[in-house]
Symmetry: C2
Subunit: 258 residues, 2 copies
């Protein structure tokens, strides 16, 4: 438990050298080394229960809705008829819960490598995917995702912090563009994970997919009925507006129109 410092959990790692998020601990609920990773669950003073994987904050009860709603509803609302969904790295099941709000969805397959973390472990053909951790960002992985997708299939995955990980994001965009005819980068905010914001990349097998304009428009009443605390159509459109230093690296360098 090298990241525990008195009453505090300190996220310190080589990836984000010189930066640390600290969460005050009320009680340690679970600490377990599985065959895949080190799992730590903290009852925190201010953010509810916090899940830490290999020393990196994975989610916190208080603000995880901001991440989960975006990761699930962005791809869902860019697909004309989402029916079968694969969630890779399903963890505590938060994305699955969001996906199941959508009436058109007939089947959700949730994959999680770690039995200790898991809800359900299944495998199958899918329509689109959300997910995963750093180790998975390989060309091979992206190819296998492509094979799992139907025509019109949409893929969405987490893509790090614009201030700290731009070279990695650029690499992920290049790999994605080599495989998918339509690729878009956006970012949104939460609090405890990833330095307060997270990027995501959306890919589609259909070059005419418009990620920036959601296909499903929600009235205020529908937004309420869906119990969206974060997601709405305006946020969906807004999250693709990028600062110049990000646009330059991800779009203009590559001479690709955003």
């Amino acid at each position: 438990m090298e990241h525990i410092d008195g009453n505090w959990f300190r996220e310190e790692n080589d990836k984000w050298s010189g930066y640390s998020t600290g969460i005050e601990i009320e009680r340690i609920l679970c600490f377990e080394k599985t065959e895949h990773q080190e799992i730590l669950v903290i009852k925190s003073k201010s953010f509810g229960n916090v899940l830490v994987l290999d020393g990196i904050i994975s989610s916190a009860e208080r603000d995880e809705f901001a991440y989960l709603e975006m990761m699930a509803n962005l791809p869902i609302n860019c697909h004309p008829k989402p029916e079968k969904v694969l969630v890779v790295g399903a963890g505590g099941g938060g994305v699955v819960k969001e996906v199941l709000k959508h009436k058109s969805v007939r089947k959700v397959v949730a994959c999680e490598i770690d039995k200790v973390q898991v809800l359900n472990v299944l495998l199958g053909k899918c329509l689109y995917i959300t997910g995963p951790g750093e180790g998975l960002f390989t060309e091979e992985y992206f190819e296998s995702m492509k094979m799992s997708l139907k025509q019109d299939g949409v893929l969405c995955f987490q893509a790090e912090n614009i201030f700290m990980d731009l070279p990695l994001i650029k690499e992920m965009m290049t790999i994605s563009r080599n495989i998918y005819p339509k690729v878009e980068f956006g970012y949104s905010v939460q609090l405890t994970v990833n330095g307060g914001h997270f990027g995501f990349i959306l890919c589609s097998l259909n070059k005419d997919t418009s990620f920036k304009e959601p296909l499903k428009k929600y009235t205020d009443k529908e937004t309420k009925e869906m119990n969206f605390k974060f997601y709405n159509n305006d946020i969906h459109r807004a999250c693709f507006s990028l600062p110049n230093f990000v646009k330059k690296d991800l779009y203009q360098d590559a001479l690709i129109e955003q």
Copy 2:
């Protein structure tokens, strides 16, 4: 220097109980108790020089452009002809530098309470204002700001973190609405300060001011000439798209149309 912990600066305070941002220190450049505050300047491992005031990270060389460009250019680009500008809490002069990029600006007055921090200390009538710290959020302060503004005058001030400070933001919105006919809340991102993002409130004496649509449209060429690393017209529009939990507290509760 209670916030120094070995090689790390730890931002820990009662306002954000249970949360801490840590910055790794290469060298301490300055530590001084002035009559107003405790000033600490760190040469950090990863974020350039970092300014800390009373134990709270105020700015970091590497990512301050994200904050400075938004705080200066949002109000400037909502005003039909910005000529006289007052910057309250001018600190290192970053906002002033942004303001001076605009050719219509004839006079900038920069106020800073602390001589040790200061660029210039001046006082005067003004067109609009950016700024300040928590201690200034009083009805009296807002009234005095109003008296300094010309017709069409615009005020912009920092308004905290949507995940941690919503009750305070709501209070600031209520005070602002009692004084100004047009008030709008938005938020944007940086990295090291304030948990990774910051809200801002824009106020105008003219109820027809449209904060969401910038008056000045920049071509890509002009954006480059202005040396904007962060700000562009799309980001300007996007930063007013609010998550539902924020909208509910700041707009719908109050039965105010956003």
